[in-house]
Amino acid sequence: MSRVTLLALQVLVAVVFVALWYALTTWPVFGIVLLPPFFFSNPVDVVQQIVKWFATGVIWKHLWVTLLESSLAFVIGSIGGVLVGFWFARQPRTAAVFDPYVKMANALPRVVLAPIFTLWLGLGIWSKVALGVTLVFFIVFFNVYQGIKEVSPTVLANARMLGMNERQLMRHVYWPSALSWMFSSLHTSVGFAVVGAVVGEYLGAAAGLGYLIQQAEGVFDVAGVFAGMFVLAAFVIVIDTLVTVVEKRLLVWRPNVGDAKP
């Protein structure tokens, strides 16, 4: 499939989606409007709202705040996840002891933690970053941990026989081997970093996309809510694309997917 066809198909999907959305919010089917505009707004209003935001420029400030928060959450959470993942994988005893606690921590509803983050970190960006970190961290952590345990035993034995010490094993064996797991988790975490930031803003903030969304929700402006979510989604695609570019560069050594050559 060429790039052009692909893009065309992607656009087609979007068009069908928007058309359906428009139709279902506008025309009643058997007497009822399937997607009541009070809850689903309609594409025209949403687009108008987005255009207005960009035309007046108000969106930039909010986007920037959210971008900053998500990026920080993403970076801190991923680094933390990678480090702790490596640490656990290399210290099976520590891992065994802390294992239940990590799983407990992963299950805490983050929303409830918001007041504590506010108390510790204030109302600025850091309490939102913290919320994002608590989401990103666990996803990356579990994947890295698993990725390291999946290293081929033969390759590992070879590395050890070549005289690698722990640090070198990390760098030359565990790290590259865990990379594909890590990137798989990064794709999920990009999304969760943004979710964390937005939810944080939604729970209390002075700026950011979550703030915009909440403001719209408070006055029952569904078009505003949806507009916020679309801007957000577009924004995630951009970050995710960056992750993919990095991934492609770092994983040149792998056989191509289509490459059936045994």
């Binding site: 007041p115 600025g124 939604y202 903030a205 002075a206 408070g218």
Partner: protein, 312 residues
Amino acid sequence: QTKITLAVGGASCLCYLPTMLAKQLGEFEKAGLNVEVVDFKGGSQSLQAVMGGSADVVSGYFDHTVNLAAKGQNLQSFVVYDRYPGFALVVSPKHTATIKSIKDLAGKKVGVSAPGSSTDFFLKYMLSKNGVDPNSIGVIGVGLGATAIASMEQGEIEAAIMLDPAITVLAGRHKDLKILSDTRTAHDTLQVFGGEYPGGALYTKADWIKSHEKEVQAMTNAIIATLKWIHSHSPEEIAEKMPAELVGKDKPGYIAALKNTLPMYSETGMMDPKGAAAVLAVFSQSSPDVAKANVDLSKTYTNKYVEAAHKK
């Protein structure tokens, strides 16, 4: 018995006490209703539940009906149990020295429960009434619970609009807490709005009311009976009746808050037309959409059922 789902936006707020108490006292059952109370995080979520049809009636702030009338949605309140809104503009304990009056808030950061909520509108109204440009201040959503208290104690915001029990909790932790305006009291409410200002009410879609007159009447009766009960009992007796999870561990604190709040509960359940007008004024102040919409206030409430209840 008809089953009614009643949506509340934060049952622990004292502003909704009559609803919860009615349930506890069994007034709904007495009126022949089987009411299930579903608790939501906030007023707008409970409203959405009613709009979507998953709940029947909202127990929430009347101002939403005005706001939605501007959007062409027909919501109507049929019994008002709060005659004052119960908002207080509280100064952060860290900033008592610098913030002496509302005028000092210019250019500062102020917390509201959520941007776009009633507290937000109330703040903007207060500010412009006192000659402060609402756009000059930073509005920060801090919620109504522990987050609000944490941000106040941290001093990152200079002031916040709060509701009970949070106000009393904060006052308990800081004896010298400064409150710039307290609409839990008749005095400040009248001063700010020039009349009673409807807070909590039962409201729902106008066509639902039309098609469920019997149930609406029953609910009205239940609430009015509850209001009478409230005004004939002490805060201690009321607290005794409330479910433990709403009172919490700090019972004396709860009773103290209740004492502060008692005057706020309506005695009649009637809507004061001046209050409805005040609501519209507050909204028009900060929302151009509402100002433009030519809201017909008389459609947003009805006293028909309250009057019928009193005639009995």
